[in-house]
């Protein structure tokens, strides 16, 4: 087991270097320049632009820029082109903002997908099952941003309450409980919107897993023993149907950054996804590179974690 972990970590480290180098090249291949260099400023002379470019190492060869990036990241000196602020504290602040949204959306997905999927599997072919199958496909097909816009229009139009950002503005002098509940309310719509697609997809998985397990011999045996239907489903079948989902937990990690770009943008949520999006628009290479690096780390960590988790929950699998 330890052997497996050490060997895998080493492999993944090598992969990480390759991924970050490739990402670095791709980002610099894209057209466009950091927006600090403002070509449309009529007063900017070519010399001024050249000086700024030199200060950001933009004229050095690509591999040197990569070396600078690695060096600055390692020493914590890496600064955003956009505002010259250190990159890591900036990312950490945004991470703290994204975290509640991510956790709540994840909890919603996992708590709703299971009952929905299980019920559909147990009452396969019934009206409920057909309804959920239809609505899952509908929700998977409709883009999340479109639903979000509809939801915002509906809530604002009917109830006249703010739904954007992480709190209502101008409430600094209100009672703490009002402020706390206001923050909860602001989480509701974006997290539901972020969760809907997830629920639709995951409940489909749950349904098919349950259907597969329910067709197994040991379920028939359990039923033949005369056990109650609930015991058969929730005691015998569910545990085995859950196995593949354990591994999905590991793969949730990278979603921390990439999963919420659209929703953070629409709901003006000051999180990591939006940071990444804006950094790309502004060609803020240090931020893009670092976030990309973190996603790569999280993905590699996630796959490692799911490999290990799989071995832990399924006694048939051994890691060598």
């Amino acid at each position: 087991m330890w052997n497996f972990i050490i060997r895998n970590v080493a492999q993944r480290l090598i992969l990480l270097v390759i991924v970050s180098f490739l990402a670095h090249s791709f980002i610099h291949l894209a057209p466009g320049e950091p927006s600090e260099v403002d070509p449309m400023n009529p007063r900017m002379k070519p010399e001024d632009i050249a000086k700024i470019r030199a200060a950001f190492h933009l004229d050095d060869p690509l591999y040197m820029q990569y070396v600078y990036w690695v060096r600055d990241l390692a020493t914590g000196e890496l600064k955003s082109f956009k505002d010259s602020q250190p990159v890591l504290p900036k990312i950490w602040d945004r991470f703290l903002n994204s975290l509640p949204l991510f956790i709540l959306a994840t909890i919603l997905i996992w708590t709703w997908a299971f009952p929905t999927g299980i019920y559909g599997a147990v009452h396969r072919g019934g009206a409920y099952d057909r309804l959920t199958v239809f609505s899952s496909y509908a929700l998977i097909s409709v883009p999340g941003f479109f639903l979000s816009f509809l939801a915002i229009l509906w809530v604002v139009g009917w109830f006249g309450v703010p739904v954007i950002s992480i709190k209502t503005f101008g409430m600094e002098h209100a009672e703490p409980i009002y402020q706390a509940m206001d923050r909860v309310w602001h989480l509701v719509i974006p997290s539901i919107m972020a969760a809907i697609g997830g629920i639709a997809i995951l409940s489909r998985y749950v349904r098919s897993q349950m259907l597969e397990v329910l067709g197994q011999d040991y379920v028939r045996t359990a039923r033949a023993k005369g056990l109650k239907e609930d015991t058969v489903i929730y005691g015998h079948a569910l545990g085995n149907a859950l196995l593949p989902f354990v591994t999905m937990f590991g793969l949730l990690l990278p979603g921390l950054i990439g999963g919420s770009v659209i929703f953070e943008q629409i709901f003006a949520w000051p999180g990591l996804g939006r940071l990444a999006f804006e950094a790309i628009l502004a060609r803020d290479f240090p931020i893009i590179m670092t976030l990309n690096f973190i996603v790569a780390v999280l993905t590699l960590l996630g796959t490692l974690l799911s490999d290990i988790l799989y071995a832990v929950v399924d006694p048939r699998i051994r890691l060598h």
Binding site: N41, R43, T75, R94, I164, F169, H173, V184
Partner: protein
């Protein structure tokens, strides 16, 4: 079964908990119920976050918005767009001018030019009235003795890849004898008036090499660029416009420190410090030096005539005590930075840029990245505190989201899109303001291409386009026709110039007289070639894209074939506009109130990466543009700008289409609060000033609990 119950119960409880929070949130009508502070809070929305809150470093709209509230300049623009004193109470512009002795020149009578001769002849000519009247000369000229000075000149050379190489060369400059003139007003024609004494071509062939001696040997390339700079280093006829500012006394920065002349000088020096990479350097580069005469008087001496320079003093003044070398060193040591970071540490890296302290109406409180910037009114502001207690700039990247927040009362101002304007105009909940933006949209023709070389052809192309229809249908009436390069709501624009008529038949006649004949396929043809070109624009602007299609269709009707294409912004700029490798473009300009159009229209600015990318070239226009930037008298400037406007209109290097209107919508409860003589508050409706700006009286704004009737 427990599992089954839990599986059902947990999601239900969770959702119920989440949904109950709805009842704690305020609605549009109940904004101030239980929260009276909301009435004294103003919330604005911005598409992008600020980048750097420092008046000498910022370059984006969001930062400027905050910086203009936190910092204050020596001057600003009043209701009529004239300069008004803020941190300066008065200012006057005078001129010192110097005429060098040109030893290789001879007077018209063949006599050699020497210092005493030159001085004597000028004085005599002035006395005898041989020289035309010298406006503003209240003191007789003086003869200054020859001297010597050492200086360093830096030259930027670009290699083939466009990489800069900066060479610093120490110079010894021998200044010959010179005649000094002192004028109470700036006179750009001063030296021309001396022609009867000096004779023609006094300033050509001035022997710079005899006076300027590089102290290092340099290679040929450097030498060539250095020689080009000689007339700047030692001008044979030098104008030194001078501004004398008297500063306001008793003004405090937000930390209580008193503002004085040292802050003004420091701000100038910070801009010119190459380490700070300030985007404002071009505005301040013409300054020769800044002198502190006493703590509340500063004299700014300029190297050359450049009248827009005074507008640069509307820029906010920095507090010296927080950013000088000592303060930065202290900060550097406190922050425990690495050695590498310590070496490059400068004003750009200072925390000041995220916690600015100025002397403006609002003081900085907090900045949450991509969320909001919070300001609070400055109680000790010299003109009295503002009505609003708190100011927020929220960062909401989507226009849709901004509108939604506006309608729930979480934002106070919304810039309505053209298609929404009618809806808001008819809604009694809001007040709205429509005014011309400082911008226009145009079709630019590459004047270098033979196809577009003739003004007549460009005029014909313009006449084929129905601009009134474009305004009515494409921008929903939210635009006005424009005929030239200045914003319509400034004095520089000449309203008497008529726009091109919509006349496709007339256009066809013009083209036919130029030899373009309709062929069998319906295209115009000349010498076996049809009239065909590419019209391009940038991606992401639906109005420009539609304009392109409309123009294409209009031209098709007169037999001109335009192929249209849309490019991503970076590609559009780098591959087409900056290189001048295009036929025609649809674009727009945003402008300032500055009458100086050098960068956009002067023929010297038509190189790669420069803004006269259409390659417009008219010697008379060049001359006027230079005269405008050297003219310090507003009335004369206005005459010149009108002439410039007319010439450009006649040449039609662009087809000027329209100037967009911008519409802002506000909650009707926001009013202007005036204090009456008896201390009674009076409410007035908010109104726009000449430029269309509604926030000029922002310090008097407040939100009421009820909707007033005006």
């Amino acid at each position: 079964m427990l599992t089954k119950r839990l599986l059902l119960l947990i999601p239900l409880v969770l959702v119920l908990f989440l949904l109950q929070s709805f009842f704690w949130v305020p609605t549009y009508e109940s904004q101030s119920v239980g929260n009276p502070g909301r009435l004294r809070t103003y919330i604005e929305a911005s598409i992008g976050d600020a980048k750097i809150l420092n008046p000498i470093l910022n370059a984006d709209a969001a930062s400027s918005n905050i910086v203009s509230r936190v910092f204050e300049g020596l001057l600003d623009l009043d209701e009529n767009l004239n300069l008004r004193g803020r941190l300066a109470t008065e200012w006057s512009i005078t001129e010192g001018a110097y005429l060098l002795v040109n030893p290789h020149h001879r007077f018209p009578d063949g006599h050699e030019v020497t210092g005493p001769q030159l001085f004597q002849r000028i004085t005599q000519a002035l006395k005898a009235g041989l020289i035309q009247e010298m406006p503003g000369m209240t003191r007789p000229p003086e003869l200054l003795p020859a001297g010597q000075r050492m200086e360093k000149v830096s030259i930027v050379l670009l290699d083939e890849q466009g990489k800069p190489r900066i060479v610093e060369i120490p110079l010894r400059v021998e200044v010959p004898e010179r005649v000094a003139f002192y004028l109470t007003q700036v006179d750009q024609d001063l030296f021309n008036r001396l022609t009867p004494v000096l004779g023609e071509r006094y300033f050509e062939h001035f022997p710079y090499e005899e006076f300027i001696h590089p102290q290092e040997t340099v290679d040929q390339e450097v030498e060539a660029s250095l020689k080009k700079k000689y007339p700047e280093i030692l001008p044979a006829g030098e104008h030194n416009p001078t501004i004398l500012f008297r500063l306001r006394q008793g003004v405090k920065f937000h930390d209580g420190h008193v503002f004085d002349a040292g802050d003004v000088k420091f701000t100038y020096e910070s801009i010119m410090n190459p380490k700070n990479l300030s985007p404002r350097t071009p505005d301040f580069e013409p300054i020769k030096h800044v002198e502190i005469l006493d703590p509340f008087t500063v004299r700014i001496v300029y190297k050359r005539l450049y009248s827009p320079a005074i507008n640069a003093w509307t820029m906010g003044i920095l507090p010296e005590h927080l950013l000088n070398e000592a303060a930065l060193t202290l900060e550097k040591e406190k922050r425990g930075l690495s050695e590498e970071a310590q070496k490059t540490f400068g004003m750009r890296e200072s925390q000041f840029n995220r916690h600015p302290i100025g002397s403006g109406t609002f003081q900085f409180i907090e900045w949450q990245g991509d969320e909001f910037i919070h300001l609070r009114r400055f109680e000790d502001y010299w003109e009295g505190p503002a009505q609003y207690q708190d100011f927020y700039m929220r960062i909401i990247p989507e226009l849709f989201t901004q509108e939604v927040e506006f309608r729930t009362g979480a934002v106070d101002l919304y810039g309505a899109q053209p298609h929404q304007v009618n809806r808001y105009k008819n809604d009694p909940t809001y007040q709205w303001f429509s005014s011309l933006a400082f911008a226009y949209t145009y079709i630019g023709y590459n004047n270098r291409k033979p196809l577009f070389a003739e003004p007549m052809i460009r005029t014909a192309l313009g006449m084929a386009i129905n601009v009134d229809e474009i305004i009515e249908y494409l921008v929903y009436g939210e635009g006005e026709r424009t005929t030239g390069p200045y914003p319509k709501n400034t004095e520089w624009y000449d309203p008497s110039i008529q726009p091109l008529p919509y006349d496709p038949q007339g256009a066809r006649d013009i083209l036919e007289s130029a030899g373009w004949k309709m062929n069998a396929d319906g295209w115009l043809e000349k010498n076996g070639k049809i009239f065909e070109f590419n019209l391009i624009t940038n991606n992401g602007n639906p109005i420009r894209k539609n304009l392109m299609t409309i123009a294409q269709n209009a031209w098709k009707k007169i037999g001109v074939k335009a192929n249209t294409q849309v490019f991503e912004w970076a590609v559009f700029l780098n591959d087409f506009v900056n290189t001048g490798d295009f036929d025609a473009v649809v674009l727009g300009w945003g402008m300032t109130i500055d009458p100086d159009l050098y960068q956009i229209w002067h023929s010297s600015q038509a190189g790669p990466q420069q803004l006269n990318f259409v390659g417009y070239n008219n010697p008379r226009v060049d001359e006027i543009i230079v005269r405008i930037r050297q003219e310090y008298d507003r009335d004369r400037q206005e005459q010149l700008t009108h002439e410039l406007h007319r010439l450009i209109h006649e040449d039609q290097p662009y087809t000027f289409l329209y100037a967009p209107l911008s519409t802002r919508v506000l909650d009707k409860k926001i009013v202007l609060v005036e204090e009456g003589p008896d201390g009674q508050e009076e409410y007035k409706k908010i109104f726009p000033i000449k430029s269309g700006d509604i926030t000029f009286y922002f310090h008097k704004w407040r939100k009421l609990e009820f909707t007033p009737n005006f």
